[in-house]
Amino acid sequence: MTQTTTSSTERLVAGRGIGGFGERHFKYTVLAPAIFILLLIGLFPLVYSLIVSFQRVTMMSADTSFAGFANYAKLFADARLWESLLHTAIFAAIALPLELVLGLAMAQLFLERMPGRQVFVALLVLPTVISPIVAGANWRLMFDHRFGPINQVIGWFMGEPTPILWIINPLTVYPAILICEVWQWTPFMFLILLAALSNVDKSLTEAAEIDGASQWRIFTRIVLPAIWPVMAIAILIRGLDLVRLFDIVWSLTRGGPGTMTETISYYTYVQGFSQFEISYTAAMAFLVVALLTVIVTLALKRMGIAR
């Protein structure tokens, strides 16, 4: 009798578990809708792109015959594509270190408490939260060679009017975009690094001070390693944003003069929505995804972000 009770209970346990069907599957029930949407909008387009990238679809012809790697081969011969990749790399390589160093310096400046610090910090946040489109538009106004305040200020320092054609002159267009970019995102670095620095255990630096270490040594040997994990994440977030750079280029230069400031995102857009090279755009999009996937995977692995 006892024997049968036990075995039937065991079956009960194996079959239903605590709380029966409803609660057993609760964790999937609450997860499912979000995953469904992510698959629909995140994964489906990628799969679709992958398929189309092996076909010959353009605006003119819905030619879905198999093109093999023709579109991918075309990528390698497309000089404008490689230039846009180079432009993207240049923006990232200059903007990221600049934002990091400026952000760190500003964080140091505001690290010690001082009355009114909250107000300064609150004001400094503003550039980061406004739309990049608005930022680009606003800087275009600021850079205007006649009505803009930038040339005016430079003129004061030079002692004579200096009509720099910021976004038309090939020499100044990169600095113009970079200034806008660094203006908008240095506060982002600043905020994160300020928080990270504030979280550094005071006793660590004090112990080093007692041991007679110089300020510079304390900073490089103790403070930097302590904030590195946070810094790494900030670099990753900003780095990925820079690889995807699109908005401020759109509103500041439209990729010009000529194609001088086209980024990879911008060029992909042009191919897709001006030229309607559907299959070719799909291949290009895939190149971008592959590139980012490699970067993200490496970065996540190296930084151990996936707690």
């Binding site: 609760f26 979000a34 489109i133 908005d247 897709g272 999009a285 971008v288 993200v296």
Partner: protein, 277 residues
């Protein structure tokens, strides 16, 4: 003794000077934007530039409302607002599953985060073709769904962190006290992560509000959002700067207000939870 105090005072004064210069530099472009929106066309196109408008006048804004262009702000509000509500609801539920049951382990969590890192340009084209097929181009439902998907990874990732901060004991206690899983969520978890929910919602809203590529591709005339509307003035008639500035201010003010309300959570929000601040 007194010299030490004097030195400290001098140091503080120096830091104030530096802080003021730095802050002024970063705030100046925003000042310029707001001032431009109040200027008359003559003042905007004055050379040398005028550092402040002769009088605060709202003509530039009036034009936007008279033209009907201001509807773009409403469109942004609808898309960003509704997509935020949906993303918050579904994302928080998913985050609860990830945080409490470790559903899918770290792999699923990282996959979801990596969705956040995907370049919009890579998915916007196939989504556009899909929407053409579904008839969703230039419709609220299309853009809302897209923004929901776009923000879900962020919501899940952030709320996973906030929910992880709720002591497990509280939930267990509620279970023993007689709550179902859903009741535990509603009566214990949600109230305890309320501020996290709020902060995450504000960020989600801001991301959707400021988004450009999707809106550029997927809107035509009906639901143009404000960033797209701003870019439409480029190269227009002579007073286009007035419209750009006014539209930008309309689109920027709500964000400033939202961010001001949640200063405390700002760092955790923008660092994707890396800094608990």
């Amino acid at each position: 003794m007194t010299s030490a105090i004097a030195r400290r005072r001098a140091r503080l004064a120096l830091r104030y000077a530096a802080a003021t210069i730095v802050t002024a530099t970063f705030v100046f472009p925003i000042y310029w934007l707001f001032m431009t929106s109040f200027k008359t066309p003559e003042e905007i196109f004055a050379s040398p530039p005028q550092w402040y408008p002769g009088s605060i006048q709202f003509q530039n804004f009036n034009v936007l409302f008279l033209d009907g262009d201001a509807i773009a702000v409403w469109n942004s509000l609808v898309t960003a607002g509704i997509s935020t509500v949906i993303a918050m609801f579904l994302g928080t539920l998913a985050a609860y599953s990830l945080a409490r049951f470790k559903t899918g382990g770290d792999n699923l969590a990282v996959w979801i985060l990596s969705q956040r890192m995907m370049p919009p340009i890579a998915i916007v084209f196939p989504v556009f073709l899909l929407y053409v097929w579904l008839g969703w181009v230039d419709s609220f439902i299309g853009l809302i769904l897209l923004y929901t998907a776009f923000n879900l990874p962020y919501v899940i990732w952030m709320m996973r962190g906030y929910i992880g901060d709720v002591p497990l004991e509280l939930e267990e206690s509620a279970q023993v006290d007689g709550c179902t899983r859903w009741q535990v969520l509603l009566k214990v978890v949600f109230p305890l992560v309320r501020s996290g929910l709020f902060a995450t919602a504000v960020f989600t809203f801001v991301f959707a509000w400021n988004e450009f590529i999707f809106a550029l591709v997927l809107t035509r005339t009906e639901i143009v959002t404000y960033p797209v509307q701003v870019t439409r003035y480029f190269g227009g008639q002579s007073n286009f700067w007035a419209k750009i500035a006014a539209m930008s201010v309309l689109g920027t003010l709500p964000i400033f207000i939202a961010v001001a309300m949640m200063q405390r959570y700002l760092v955790r929000g923008i660092s994707m939870g890396a800094v608990k601040g």
